[in-house]
Symmetry: C2
Subunit: 196 residues, 2 copies
Amino acid sequence: MNATLDVKALCLGVLTHGEASGYDIKKYFEETFSHFYLAGYGSIYPALAELLAEGAVTVRAVPQAGRPDRKVYQLTDAGRQRFLATLAATPPSHKVRSEFLVLMHFAALLPPERLLAVLDERVDEFDRTLGQLEECERENPGAHFCAGFGRTVLRAARDYVAAYRGRLAAGPRPAPANDVVSPAVASEPPRRKTGS
Amino acid sequence: MNATLDVKALCLGVLTHGEASGYDIKKYFEETFSHFYLAGYGSIYPALAELLAEGAVTVRAVPQAGRPDRKVYQLTDAGRQRFLATLAATPPSHKVRSEFLVLMHFAALLPPERLLAVLDERVDEFDRTLGQLEECERENPGAHFCAGFGRTVLRAARDYVAAYRGRLAAGPRPAPANDVVSPAVASEPPRRKTGS
DNA sequence: ACCTGCATGTAATTAGTTACATGATTTT
DNA sequence: AAAATCATGTAACTAATTACATGCAGGT
């Protein structure tokens, strides 16, 4: 009885916090899940249509001035049950897909300046995500755990990459013999901002 | 000029280390990329067939006793050029897809024992991946960087989750007011092994 | 004048997973 | 006796991305 947390299930999940439109749900995804789950309109709208057809949600159309009606969805009892069952049956997988690490695996085939640019870009993006994560006030304890997890892991990742980038810039030698990069302190000279 | 590191590109990458069969490539993926890139036979074999048709690789069939011929692939110059171009044009993205964090976001809807089981399972899996990462000797500096990154990040993740699980087991109160979990030391009572 | 936010959706495509299909040899 | 390793592949399916299509209101 293994279930998957696909976009449909996540929509049900968001609706447990109260009624919402597809647009609202997308916003919620961005604000709350963006560092570990992505979904766009192209998956959310069809998901809601299917959930409606299956009786997991109901809609109410709210007329809007000069734009399409807001379609506000509510969870039905069946929908709530279904979501709880999904939660109970979903294995807690955690997957990373990193083109960054692939690039680094083949670092020897990259021009040196490209290598530096790749590292800078990654650090910048980690910083951006961290910034976004700091500013989020978490209502429920679950979101609190997730934000804490994100901060912890992203900081570790950021510091590791930044330290390596620092050593690279310091001396283009193959890197000193020590295995694990020393924790963050490792000289980190100023970097140029990489284009956004 | 943005490129994607899909399975086809990764196959070319693996072949820069020397000729290999589809089977060998799968093994290489598992040993080296498994914590940040997954691919099965169902994507590797078709990828190799396409690369062959496109002239990026050549094959040599090596007869085998009582099993299908080993088809050993070699990179052509065109294939190598193509891979280098792909590396140069790929944005260093790094994405996480975590059903674990989704589960935790909705922790309030989970039965307490299920919550504990989820946390245990995650810690066990982080430990398993870490074990795999420790035992890998890395030939090239790129792989060294990737292994170090994996160890650093996975340890941070593991410790964060383990500490939280420890606090949960200690007292089922909503969790003390401090924000970030104290680094690893936080009481971590013995856990039962979760079934594999 | 342009961009961002609000608000909905569809269609085509891409990419990947899962299950199937076969079968000898070696290790536990 | 069973499981894992070696070795290839195909077909059906699932899921999600990307681009398209429309259009007003408000801020810079």
